[in-house]
Symmetry: C2
């Protein structure tokens, strides 16, 4: 028995869908124009920059950047060609590989972060009241916790 959406739910769903499409399109386009990098790659650099020694095991980095192992492997290959990340073999585990953020990568990230934060503020936080921001936080956490429990990524 399909539980269809009523008219109100339909409207929420469509607004949700359109706003997300437009938002991430816009964010991604601006990031790409300013720094020639898709958002997924930016995420990788961010997570690396936050790790001690600016280095992480590939699988740990994949988890933190919401990426599959395969996707990360391709991404790091591309980031290596740009000179922003390099691979090193893991001393404690011969299977392992570590991704290390280079100085050049850190510099690129610093400049990318400025314009990116500006985008996020313009298109998200500036459009909402303080109460809506709080609500959005709770809504996002509820969805996130549910989806984490499905054990993806």
């Amino acid at each position: 028995m399909t539980r269809w959406l009523d008219a109100g739910e339909q409207e929420v769903w469509r607004a949700f869908l359109e706003s997300h499409h437009r938002f991430f399109d816009q964010i991604g386009r601006e990031l790409n124009q300013d720094c020639g990098m898709p958002h997924a790659y930016y995420e990788v650099l961010v997570r690396l920059s936050e790790a001690p020694g600016r280095r992480l095991r590939m699988s740990e980095l994949a988890d933190r950047s919401q990426s599959s192992r395969s996707r990360l492997s391709h991404a790091v290959s591309r980031l290596e060609e740009s000179g922003w990340v390099r691979r090193e073999t893991c001393p404690s585990d011969a299977r392992g590989a570590e991704a290390v953020l280079t100085d050049e990568g850190f510099a690129v990230l610093e400049s990318a972060a400025r314009s990116h934060v500006e985008s996020v503020r313009r298109h998200l936080f500036d459009q909402l009241t303080a109460g809506q921001v709080r609500q959005l936080g709770e809504i996002s956490r509820a969805m996130r916790d549910h989806l984490r429990s499905l054990g993806g990524c």
Copy 2:
């Protein structure tokens, strides 16, 4: 002068980002497993099914399905190969092309819609209170209206 995010905003932003990633990954994966179709293509079929005569000009269809003209052109080519959509030349405008939903396409859409709605309900509406759904609607509309004013897509 970069307006950085404070700690609270950071947390909202990260939860928003992660929930978005996980949600659309999940929705897309389920849709793909059930009906061998990415979400963008599903959107195309939906918009066509809602149009009078189940047909639309390509550019109109692109607007309604949040797609670029190029993307839609590729998408319709693929949907044509599946036999779910066909192209017809536009009588009033010799440049134009119309996309028409075939009977087979309509049947596929009907069955896809069942499982897709179920996904959306499970991963979105079932996770939120009625108040949160209302809030999400207002938040989404605010973002959508702002982003529409930028004139993309």
